[in-house]
Symmetry: C2
Subunit: 161 residues, 2 copies
């Protein structure tokens, strides 16, 4: 059965095009953006300001094709899409953990944001190390590649044609 | 514009009822479950087995009402829903980071799972500390409460009537 979601707001960032963007929040250190929450959802922001980091779930709205195996930005080999963070997923939902700087009414000021400008926001969750930080982690094919995330920028490989 | 998602599989766990459940993976240490991926998406699992932990996005399928302020399991006061992990969100999408034990064909064996049995799965992403582990984190209202997550179980407050 299909699940229907309605965006709760828009993420505003300096990235107008899906090319030359950071490919993860860790590659977007210091990049500032805002989130404009639809006024009808403002009450849901109560007490969020005490959190230094928030988890954003959003729609990869420029990702219109889906592939089950992809060559991610960090490698030259194909991997299953669920073993990557590529946008062209069966359900194009993205996840980024960003720094929350301040909240003014229904506008959130954030840092380390790696999404395209005008990305539709699906959900905000507080980041809580006790829930979200497992230990003794192994990262498969990414083990030797992930250091490049700090330098690597996106190209047009996931662009919709 | 509404976003339409189609589940890619089902999460199977020992939790048949939304009452008396762990309220986060950290409260579900050692709880085993499986994920049955729809065969049409099997190819997307290639190379996932090298990852020790995966991020699950899923549908809070028993959460039919939405509230903008909620009294979460870990507190007796109301907070904005986006400052909590409560299921009754405007877009009822849940997130859990679980341990991946092994993969056999289209079945994933997982540990520390805190979802209801038969939860529809939306996405799997590899957990990567370099992407997903911010430092110097503050957790607002949860600061003094979150230790209880290891003991606290759910009651029926978020149940659909």
């Amino acid at each position: 059965m299909a699940i229907k979601l309605n965006p709760i707001g828009l993420i505003r960032t300096p990235f107008k095009q899906p090319i030359g963007m950071p490919i993860q929040p860790s590659g977007a250190k210091g990049v500032k953006g805002t989130i404009e929450i639809e006024p009808e959802y403002s009450d849901g922001l109560k007490d969020l300001k005490g959190f230094s980091h928030i988890i954003l779930l959003y729609h990869f709205h420029k990702s219109t094709k889906c592939a089950l195996t992809v060559t991610p930005f960090l490698d030259s080999e194909k991997h299953g899409v669920f073993a990557t963070r590529a946008p062209n997923r069966p359900n194009p939902v993205g996840l980024s953990i960003v720094k929350l700087l301040k909240i003014e009414s229904n506008i959130l000021y954030i840092e380390n944001i790696d999404t395209l400008d005008e990305t539709p926001l699906i959900d905000i969750k507080p980041y809580v190390p006790e829930f979200d930080r497992p230990s003794r982690v192994k990262t498969g094919w990414l083990e030797t590649k992930k250091g490049n995330v700090f330098l690597k920028k996106s190209d047009d490989r996931f662009r919709s044609k």
